[in-house]
Amino acid sequence: MVNLNTIPPKNNRDFYIAIGLEGSANKLGVGIVKHPLLPKHANSDLSYDCGAEMLSNIRDTYMTPPGEGFLPRDTARHHRNWCVRLIKQAMAEAGIKDPTLDVDVICFTRGPGMGAPLHSVVIAARTCSLLWDVPLVGVNHCIGHIEMGREITKAQNPVVLYVSGGNTQVIAYSEKRYRIFGETLDIAIGNCLDRFARTLKIPNEPSPGYNIEQLAKKAPHKDSLVELPYTVKGMDLSMSGILASVDLLAKDLFKCNKKNKILFDKKTGEQKVTVEDLCYSLQENLFAMLVEITERAMAHVNSNQVLIVGGVGCNVRLQEMMAQMCKDRANGQIHATDNRFCIDNGVMIAQAGLLEYRMGGIVKDFSETIVTQKFRTDEVYAAWRD
């Protein structure tokens, strides 16, 4: 059993308040979370049911023109420019007047992520900490996603599929750690979709993956898929080969290369496949692989709950496929959140950081606040779980 009330809230309040700062990729997020101090948490395994209240959840995304990705230095500049404004706005929205008295802890993303953006956000966190005399907690980005998903969906012990621009992992909890059962061996799923979007030169607004999803819905030849590699390796998968082959097809399509028999009819030279079809086939292929490795992990750990988190988790088609898979398993349950909590945000950092803070884990020296690009999910000791 775990005591989540190890550290009492400041000034004898009956609730905790945490600010979370997130900026590991092109999204800058500031979120404020409130946890009531409840006696049931003193001796419990209720880290998925904190009664959390989101006081504010603000996000600003650095957008690039079609066909371009975000570069670390430009993203970092965006975060530096917007960080103070977002923090002020979040505090106003949450009604916090004096952060010195009202804020228990400031949480920031320690990693994994792009070095430069992480660095610019942690500087803001350190400054606030010194300014208001509030302790800091460093949070693993993946753990943030998992804890937010658990709190929102109240899933007690699910198999987590974490799919985003930089990570593709199947995770399950065991003995105080979130263990990675399967993951990508090369590029992440979001990365694969983003890069294909760049090849197609479709807009990055609101997100490349969303635009691919919309294109896929309009595919005219849904009954005949373009064959792409299917690369599941045990509980791991590999996606670079799929990206390379679909990229080649797209380029041949744009160049009108009639020699390509997959795209054009051998005799008449008529076009058989459209850009929408390519998007549809890519999605079907990638998501089938994801659902398969999730099912493998579920069978391996004898679990029947799935939680999808991360930016790609907003994809309705992925949620549909996962729901179908769960339906065919004995008492399968699926948990997914919407884009407020799926896409990177500050609230999730605040949620995971506050759990850590309530277990007594605070940064004692600024040397512990160094951010890191490589920070695995299973490196974190999950003190708040049983």
Partner: protein
């Protein structure tokens, strides 16, 4: 396990064949039966066979599903037939297969572990010995698991999905003999890369399922793996070095796999 699938299977097999569902894996549903696919019924009633059925997965596109089911069923059957002939390597005997419908008949292996620990696969066996993990029986069994994997790789086959639940232990007298099962993702390959990935998948599976004693377990398995190669003489030692070198590289690659997002 849904009733729908069971009905589907019994209607496919006809009423004369009795089926008892045993388990639902990720990919397949496993049934036990007392009927041999083509030999006449003998008077010995205790004989048991396995029917492994890969049901159509409704979540994926029918085209992907058909290709995968056919490919994996056929692949598994072919591999099992070849592997069964290799001396020293233990896999279940293939009796019949129907790749278009996703059915395989196999010989029944394993038994129930004492003390309610369930079926005798390596996962349950290790959990049974969780209290006293470093006894000689565990060490010897894991050593033999390593030898099996070593033999498999030496003969240029890869399993593709090595986990502790895909290794079944069969009791001969006092000792447990590991048998490899589930070759749906297996392949014929002489690339060190595939073998390295195979070992890495197993190491990670042990690490995440049996985290407490994983290091020792993996050591024992690797000892067995080494022994299987060293038995083959100088050529074996050379190959072993190549495989382990690539294994280290794959492991490093895997560790780096946390970037951004």
């Amino acid at each position: 396990m849904t009733q729908e699938f069971i009905d589907k299977v019994s209607s496919y097999l006809s009423q004369d064949i009795d089926i008892t569902p045993i388990s639902q894996g990720a990919e397949a549903i496993v049934f036990s039966t007392s009927t041999h696919p083509y030999l006449p019924k003998t008077r010995e009633s205790h004989q048991k066979f396995i029917i492994k059925y890969r049901p159509p997965k409704r979540y994926r596109h029918p085209q992907i599903d058909q290709t995968l089911t056919k490919h994996r069923t056929l692949n598994e059957s072919r591999l099992l037939a070849k592997l069964y002939l290799i001396p020293g390597l233990y896999v279940p005997q293939l009796l019949a297969c129907d790749p278009y419908n996703g059915f395989i008949w196999l010989e029944f292996l394993g038994e129930d572990l004492p003390g309610g620990y369930g079926f005798s696969n390596l996962k349950n066996f290790l959990w049974m010995h969780d209290k006293d993990p470093y006894n000689d029986l565990v060490a010897a069994t894991l050593h033999k698991v390593g030898i099996q994997i070593g033999l498999l790789h030496w003969n240029d086959y890869c399993h593709g999905d090595l986990t502790s639940s895909n290794i079944v232990l069969v009791k001969y007298g006092a000792e447990w003999v590991p048998h490899l099962i589930d070759f749906g993702l297996g392949s014929v390959s002489n690339l060190v890369e595939d073998k390295g990935v195979d070992l890495y998948v197993l190491e990670r599976a042990i690490l995440s399922t049996h985290s407490k004693h994983a290091e020792k377990y993996n050591d024992w398995i690797m000892e067995g793996f080494e022994a299987a190669y060293h038995e083959k003489g100088a050529k074996g030692i050379k190959k072993f070095k190549e495989v382990t070198k690539r294994f280290q590289e794959v492991r490093l690659r895997g560790r780096k796999r946390s970037m951004l997002g």
